[in-house]
């Protein structure tokens, strides 16, 4: 198992470097110089050139990339162009908000999704099942940001239960976390249901039943536990989705976080910050995929050995 994890960690390095290359290239192959956003119209060309030199933008692109990448591995992500702060400082400042939102909505989507899927599977082809699956279908259909707007309209504007925006306390977290959690629960519910129904048809379930074990025991101990394997994989893969969703949710609910930082920096063309945020998010997604694979290998030992 440890061998497997180490092997996967080593395999992450080239993928990570390639990701960094793509992030760097798509931002630097674009015409236009980011320092132009800093300059007042009519400022002398010497100032512009000095700034370009200061940010190292006069060097050939591959040199810029190598310099940046070596700095990244040293833990130095550069300095923001528009704010007088280091990128790592900005990231550390915004990260906790996004992590809290992500983790809470992740848990909500997992619990709701698995419950909904399991109930639908147990009550297959009844009204409960149909209702559950319609809810799950809506979950994968409704745009996350719109769900956020509607929850805000109902619970903040009309009922006044929660603040319309803000951050820091539990009350302001509930709506954004539920928006993202509800939106994410749909897919998990569908996978849970399909997986449980598939397991329920297996021969060994018939044998377990034939042994006279009670229905609830069969469902909990034999069907549900085996059905969890694809759900675990899905959870790791959902990390990327949660991160993407958090970006929009942060805009909807006006919460400071990595999503806001990214969109603000995109509008300002603050390249070092954009690179930093993307790198951090992509690294998180890769880590999520790795965790999914490791859990999967743990649940199904055949995978470790090929």
């Amino acid at each position: 198992m440890i061998n497997y994890i180490i092997r996967r960690l080593i395999m992450m390095i080239p993928v990570f470097i390639l990701c960094s290359m793509i992030i760097f290239l798509i931002l630097h192959l674009v015409p236009g110089n980011p320092v132009d956003n800093l300059l007042h119209p009519g400022s002398p060309p010497e100032v512009r050139e000095r700034l370009i030199k200061e940010f190292g933008l006069d060097k050939p692109i591959y040199q810029q990339y190598i310099i940046w990448l070596t700095n990244v591995f040293k833990g130095n992500l550069g300095v923001s162009i528009t704010e007088q702060r280091s990128v790592s400082e900005l990231l550390l400042l915004k990260l906790p908000n996004t992590v809290v939102l992500g983790v809470v909505s992740f848990l909500i989507s997992f619990i709701l999704g698995v419950l909904l899927g399991a109930v639908s599977a147990i009550k297959q082809n009844t009204i409960v099942d149909y209702m559950g699956m319609i809810l799950a279908l809506l979950g994968v259909t409704v745009p996350t940001f719109w769900l956020g707007l509607m929850l805000m309209l109902i619970f903040s504007v009309n009922l006044g239960w929660f603040p319309i925006s803000g951050y820091g306390d539990l009350k302001s977290l509930i709506l954004p976390a539920f928006t993202l959690g509800l939106a994410g629960a749909g897919l998990i519910a569908r996978v849970t249901r399909a997986s449980m129904l598939e397991i329920a048809q297996k021969d060994y379930i018939a044998i377990v039943r034939a042994k006279g074990i009670s229905n609830s025991q069969v469902i909990i101990k034999h069907i549900f536990r085996n059905a969890l394997i694809p759900i675990i994989t899905l959870l790791g893969l959902r990390l990327g989705w949660i991160i993407g969703g958090a970006v929009t949710i942060e805009i909807v609910f006006n919460r400071p976080g990595l999503g806001r930082l990214l969109t603000d920096s995109l509008f300002r063309r603050d390249y070092p910050v954009i690179q930093g945020v993307l790198l951090l998010l992509v690294f998180t997604v890769m880590l999520g995929n790795l965790i999914a694979d490791v859990l999967y290998a743990y649940a199904d030992p055949r995978i470790r050995y090929n």
Binding site: L149, M150, V247, F267
Partner: protein, 292 residues
């Protein structure tokens, strides 16, 4: 579709597409999905006749009116009729869904089939490329691409296409890998068929059904992604009546004019629901097991 015996053959229509059609007719969800999409296409084509008002005509004395018989869904902050804008927006959503999915399927087919068919070093490189692209959340990737090439409807289409091709490439690659060692391919090769004939005439047609299903579902995703990008201010620019860009101002007016947020959102959901229902239905009909 395999026939087990000659007796059975009498009861089942011989034509494969006829079987599919009969199965399709029985699948209520797929029919509903198809009807929604057809209505949408109809709305898009005949928008000029359906919409009571122009989509760009501003009338500041009528701004933020609540829904009435004159303005079915109310008016926006410039006094434009929201119902008319939604009607005109139908063709935009369709255009985004079809074009972006079409481009990404094309890229996916080319890269996926080359990767699987030729294998070896080329395959390894392409697989790493796919893995790398897979690590980017689609919304972030498309957001960055649009931000760089400039916000417009066409950039959105390109960005969505560039963010989604990987899933089709992986699907095609998997399909061809499992097909290329089948006996009939070996026979075709021994009869002297060259690589491109085998790939285009014998492998791809048999690999394409799961891609059709994925693309139908993908169009729904593309429409949601367009709405999201436009909401973030990185989409179609005014006065284009894209549903997403109609929603981008809705947050500001949530107290004053909630209909600004409600109706374009419902239009988006119904459309996406149409594609999802049709895609789910097709998947059941074709009996495909796909990873969600």
């Amino acid at each position: 579709m395999k026939f087990k015996s000659h007796e059975e053959k009498q009861y089942i229509p011989r034509n494969k597409s006829r079987i599919m059609f009969l199965k399709f007719k029985k699948n209520k969800m797929a029919i509903i999905g198809l009807i929604i999409i057809l209505i949408l296409i109809f709305t898009g084509i005949f928008a000029d006749f359906i919409a009571p008002h122009s989509y760009r005509e501003q009338n500041l004395s009528l701004k933020n009116q609540s829904p009435s018989s004159d303005f079915l869904f109310g008016t926006d902050e410039f006094g434009r009729c929201i119902f008319s804008r939604i009607v005109y927006g139908a063709s935009i959503s369709l255009k985004v869904g079809i074009l972006s999915t079409g481009i990404s399927v094309l890229i996916g087919i080319i890269i996926g089939s080359i990767s699987a068919y030729y294998g070896g070093f080329l395959d390894q490189i392409l697989v790493v490329l796919m893995d790398v692209m897979w690590a980017f959340p689609t919304i972030l990737l498309s957001l960055v691409i649009v931000a760089i090439i400039g916000a417009s409807l066409n950039s959105v289409i390109i960005a969505i296409a560039l963010s989604y091709w990987v899933q089709y490439a992986r699907l095609i690659r998997g399909q061809i890998l499992s097909l290329k060692n089948e006996l009939y391919i070996e026979v075709t090769r021994s009869l002297g068929a060259n690589d491109s004939t085998i790939l285009w005439k014998h492998l791809l047609p048999n690999a394409v059904i799961p891609v059709v299903v994925a693309a139908t579902l993908g169009m729904g995703n593309a429409i949601v992604l367009e709405a999201t990008l436009s909401f973030l201010g990185m989409g179609a620019q005014p006065p284009t009546p894209s549903w997403g860009s109609m929603l981008s101002n809705a947050r500001t007016y949530l107290f004053l004019a909630p209909w600004l947020a409600i109706f374009p959102g419902i239009a988006t959901i119904i459309t996406v629901l149409g594609f999802n229902l049709l895609g789910d239905g097709l998947r059941d009909i074709m009996d495909i097991k796909m990873k969600e």
